[in-house]
Symmetry: C2
Subunit: 458 residues, 2 copies
């Protein structure tokens, strides 16, 4: 740190309680990386561990006065490098702002601080018979603020929607420290441009979300029915899944793991699993009929099928899907991609991933939210990771093919993880020059100095 920077930091220290401004090397080191297998080139200046909105405002006032770049951060579970902070940058963390402030049964809303964990919120709301549907696979460790930053999806999107559909209002600290409240506490509201939706998914580039009014729905009651099915290959499995959608069934969850992913899971757990795996769950009234009809269709497409409403057995089937991530991690550094394609093109995308992996000699198991067409091709390789080294060139070459193919199929680079730092180079391929320019102009309207999460998302 330069002497000038140290002096400037003293001003910030004076504006905050003693334990809020953190400069311990270990804390700075943590803030360099998220869970993308990537990290910044060096430690940031300091971390503001805010416990109140006023701390975030003070930090932004200081940062805008000194022209210092700010990286907003929650639990650091992102998969695109969006919360990674580097030299000269100030981290503003809302990790410790994790209270549930109110819940209304009749309004079916709650007000939260951004650091609250998804699972924690789920459990608190369950006590009221209410539910906030966004359900990232990382729910045990990820924050609601992180969902908002990336417009996170998860396993339940095809039926129950993504984060944007379940947020009514946001409290946002702007680049200069001023606080605005966007949106409404009401189900409907169209006064002015929809800044709530604009901030959702903006990955900390427009402001720092310090509070949110979430739209809730009644918790799902009644039996949940689960179907597990193994197929000889992923194209057949994908065809079965698209047939289920085309038959107008609405499972709550429909997931697909390719042969390579299942194989790695088998090696990790020691279970004798093989083939491509489809997991399906049906909820709400009519669940059994949906599950049985879907099971019959999976069988007709060549699957070996099991149907159950036994919670323990159901949980085992769900674990097949949920454990894949950990299995893959046990084989090396992982880089989780996140392309989304129209559901009719899922089988094509599986084939393209397999071909690209073979051509470039990389390992690329694929999991897929088959209810909505969102695939997670996951590169597994030696090296890279938190030490800041780059993935092998073959990984980027294969990733480039996967991204280009997704866009060509009418899809997108990122369904739910965000652009972060990792996907910026492909942004213009998807958006085009003019739309990208428009996005930069909107960014400039919010943050004329460009101090909010520079080099990310846009």
């Amino acid at each position: 740190m330069t002497a000038a920077a140290a002096t400037a930091l003293d001003d910030l220290r004076a504006a905050l309680p003693a334990d809020v401004l953190v400069t311990e090397p270990a804390a700075l080191e943590v803030a360099r990386a998220d869970r993308s297998g990537h990290s910044s080139t060096g430690a940031p200046l300091a971390v503001v561990e805010a416990t109140e909105v006023a701390h975030v405002q003070a930090a932004m006032r200081w940062a805008s006065a000194h022209g210092v770049a700010v990286v907003p951060r929650g639990a650091g579970t992102g998969l695109a490098g969006g919360a990674n902070a580097g030299p000269g940058e100030l981290v503003v963390s809302v990790d410790r702002m994790r209270r549930l402030l109110d819940v209304s049964l009749v309004d079916q809303t709650c007000t939260v601080e951004p650091g609250i964990r998804n699972l924690e919120l789920d459990e608190l709301l369950a006590g009221h018979g209410l539910w906030w549907p966004p359900d990232p696979a990382s729910r045990a460790i990820s924050t609601v603020g992180g969902n908002i930053a990336t417009n996170a999806g998860g396993l339940l999107c095809a039926k129950h929607g993504v984060t944007r559909e379940w947020v009514l209002s946001l409290d946002v600290v702007l680049a200069d420290g001023e606080l605005i409240r966007t949106g409404h506490r009401t189900v409907k509201g169209v006064t002015g441009l929809d800044l709530t939706a604009l901030v959702i998914g903006s990955e900390g580039t427009l402001g720092i979300v310090v509070g949110a009014v979430l739209k809730l729905r009644p918790a799902v009651t009644g039996a949940v029915w689960t179907v597990g099915a193994f197929f000889s290959d992923e194209e057949r499995a994908a065809a079965a899944c698209t047939a289920i959608t085309a038959a107008r069934l609405r499972p709550a969850i429909m997931e697909l793991v390719d042969r390579e992913g299942v194989g790695m899971l088998a090696a990790y757990t020691g279970e004798p699993l093989a083939g491509a795996f489809v997991l399906l769950q049906a909820d709400e009234a009519g669940a059994e009929e949906v599950a049985r009809t879907a099971a019959a269709m999976l069988e007709a497409h060549g699957g070996t099928v099991e149907v159950t409403d036994d919670p323990a057995r159901s949980d085992l089937l769900v674990q097949v899907r949920r454990q894949v991530h950990f299995a893959l991690e046990s084989f090396g550094t992982i880089l989780v991609e996140d392309v989304s394609v129209p559901r009719s093109r899922m089988a094509d995308m599986f084939r393209i991933c397999r071909d690209a992996a073979a051509r470039h000699g990389v390992r690329l198991p694929v999991t897929c939210h088959a209810g909505d067409g969102n695939l997670h091709p996951t590169f597994v390789f030696e090296g890279g990771g938190p030490d800041g080294t780059e993935p092998p060139a073959a990984v980027w070459a294969a990733a480039d093919e996967v991204f280009q193919a997704a866009i060509a199929l009418g899809g997108t680079l990122t369904g739910e993880h965000g652009v972060g730092t990792l996907k910026r180079r492909w942004l213009v391929d998807e958006l085009g020059e003019r739309q990208l320019a428009l996005q930069h102009a909107i960014k400039a309207a919010f943050d004329p100095q460009g101090i909010l999460n520079p080099g990310k998302a846009l």
Copy 2:
């Protein structure tokens, strides 16, 4: 028209097919008004009756070259003056662009031109067993582009969501005539800022929507159950409705008409109806149970209740709600307001409307989407209307009280109709100076000359 304007218009005429540029006085007269009971101070310059995207682009290129203000327009069924065009303005109408371009069962998407009518689309999709849920009361005459311009809601929002939740991608002609495509054809997608959501509800101030990819869902199958109930007053009826929400029931429709509205309907139809009316419908699996449980709750709150799954009887009950608008229109000029409040404050809002009407000596029946807290207090008065005269001062005085109260209760000026010209003076009360300035900056990023629907929405 000045000589310079006439010469300039010749350039536009040369750029368009003969029947696309319309200057007949009758057509210009129509474009002065929507269905808000309000009209502009005089006829616009001309109407571009576009049948292709290229016509809209040519019009915008011409308008930006000449600095002419443009009013985008569809079927002209708006209720806030947003499509009303005045002297010196060019109308760009997409009324004739009304094709359904494709439907995909497996992707559960369709591509439409903006002028397609809601009911027309509904009927076409029903043939595929699919459904686009946004359901404005005006569906027989209003366009999908109009839904997008205002983020329209309707009767089904509490359960099935508003327009924003059912649009994946937009084709938008910008102020300078360039065409961009926002969003994705996929269920999920988070590449870049969410310009789709930003354009939805922007009332033609950011660009002209010339195409949309809509997200569909399977059509609802099985019996629909309907409940009708009459109450001694609207507060009791509202309390019954909030109790149903708090009991975690999810009716597809829950509507409320106050005593004055029912009284005017009785006078209009000659039917002996009296009291405040609640209409409820339940759909999907479990419909009967939801309807019967809700009916018991309505009865416990003092309602006189009828439950039916007979389609003809059900239709009669629905008509009680749907005919109110026509009944009110038969008594004079109407000005339909559109406040939305948290559901817990609905009964308060009914009382406030009644008190404001009494204090100012105006007639103010109220209908309400009681499933989501969106009230339509509807002023009925002599004069005003398409001749351009203003509603009586007492109407605006009462409206001011209603708006201020809605904001104070944590609600909003407009739940689904938009701000248009009629509600602009209250905008800053809801948004605050800073957020309004931010909205203007975003508008300037899209439309630096300020030629797109000036004087509306913002």
